[in-house]
């Protein structure tokens, strides 16, 4: 079930789990959210992906200045349950990595769309790059299909 919330988020309820997808963000199929901020984008881990992968123990992020192609690793996360290598959804230059996550990676779980952001990228061909991404509705539908497939007996 997907609900439209008053705060502008979509809410997906599967089994006993509730996943939230702000509608002002775009998403990659790999589970990252992307928010445009002028000529830059801020990137983080979606609520769906953080809940599915467990408590984060370490977040390894690229150095500022690194240049990434779409598909290059933008973050590797070590959780209690898994190691995640996340592909950059866009081509760009890393302007900032969230340094607070070095000591407090739990923010990715606690506040995935806020304090738990991962990286800020400067993107050259913004419009061209952003059109490859999913909106909240499309991403929520993909998440629903994945979750329901896993729950099938």
């Amino acid at each position: 079930m997907t609900n439209d919330q008053n705060d502008g988020s979509l809410q997906l309820i599967v089994d006993k789990f509730i996943f939230t997808f702000p509608q002002n963000l775009q998403y990659s199929e790999a589970g990252l959210w992307i928010r445009r901020e002028g000529i830059m984008v801020r990137i983080g881990l979606s609520d769906f992906t953080q809940q599915r992968n467990g408590d984060i123990a370490f977040a390894n992020l690229p150095e500022a200045g690194s240049v990434l192609d779409a598909g290059d690793e933008i973050a590797s996360l070590e959780t209690v349950k898994a190691n995640l290598s996340l592909p950059s959804p866009l081509k760009g230059r890393v302007v900032e990595a969230n340094s607070i996550l070095r000591d407090s990676p739990e923010f990715i779980n606690q506040d995935p769309y806020g304090k738990g952001w991962l990286v800020v990228l400067q993107v050259e061909h913004m419009e061209r790059e952003l059109c490859k991404l999913l909106d909240a509705e499309a991403y929520s539908s993909m998440a629903k299909r994945q979750a329901e497939a896993e729950l099938k007996p």
Partner: protein
């Protein structure tokens, strides 16, 4: 696909208040009720097995999460206490299980604060991801003592 697994034990009556249990993972042993419930001392009881199930499961999950949080574990010991309440209708319930882990970790002076923080997170994760802790309706209370030993 839904992820499930099954586990098995078999119990058999041996006469009077004695039983024999065969665990799915191999071991076999006699069991009884506690002496104050018409059982025998010196053998497994359901009460001990319940408390032990929580304690062993959380410990095994802690060993895993300590590795994931890159902790250098020197020792781990945990005393667990299950509190039983006898209800007005004479039914009984474990209302609470208290775990008192004593954990010793190696760290350098600069990393001590981070080690202590990660060890608390590892403990919280151990409880969160413990199959048995997740499956009981008793309140679970953690009272950890965490020590660090500084590397020279």
């Amino acid at each position: 696909m839904s992820q499930t697994a099954t586990y098995h034990t078999t119990v058999q009556w041996k006469g009077e208040h004695w039983g024999r249990i065969r665990m799915g993972n191999g071991p076999e042993m006699d069991f009884s009720a506690p002496p104050d419930a018409h059982g025998h001392s010196g053998v497994l009881t359901p009460e001990d097995a319940f408390v032990a199930a929580v304690n062993t499961c959380v410990m095994m999950m802690f060993l895993w999460s300590a590795e994931r949080f890159k902790l250098q574990l020197i020792s781990f010991e945990c005393h667990a206490e299950g509190t039983k309440r006898i209800e007005l209708d004479r039914t009984e319930i474990f209302t609470q299980v208290t775990l008192r882990p004593r954990i010793v970790l190696r760290t350098d002076a600069a990393g001590r604060e981070s080690t202590l923080k990660r060890s608390q997170r590892a403990l919280d994760s151990a409880v969160k991801y413990s199959l048995v802790a997740n499956s009981i309706k008793s309140k679970l209370v953690l009272e950890p003592e965490i020590e660090t030993v500084l590397t020279p």
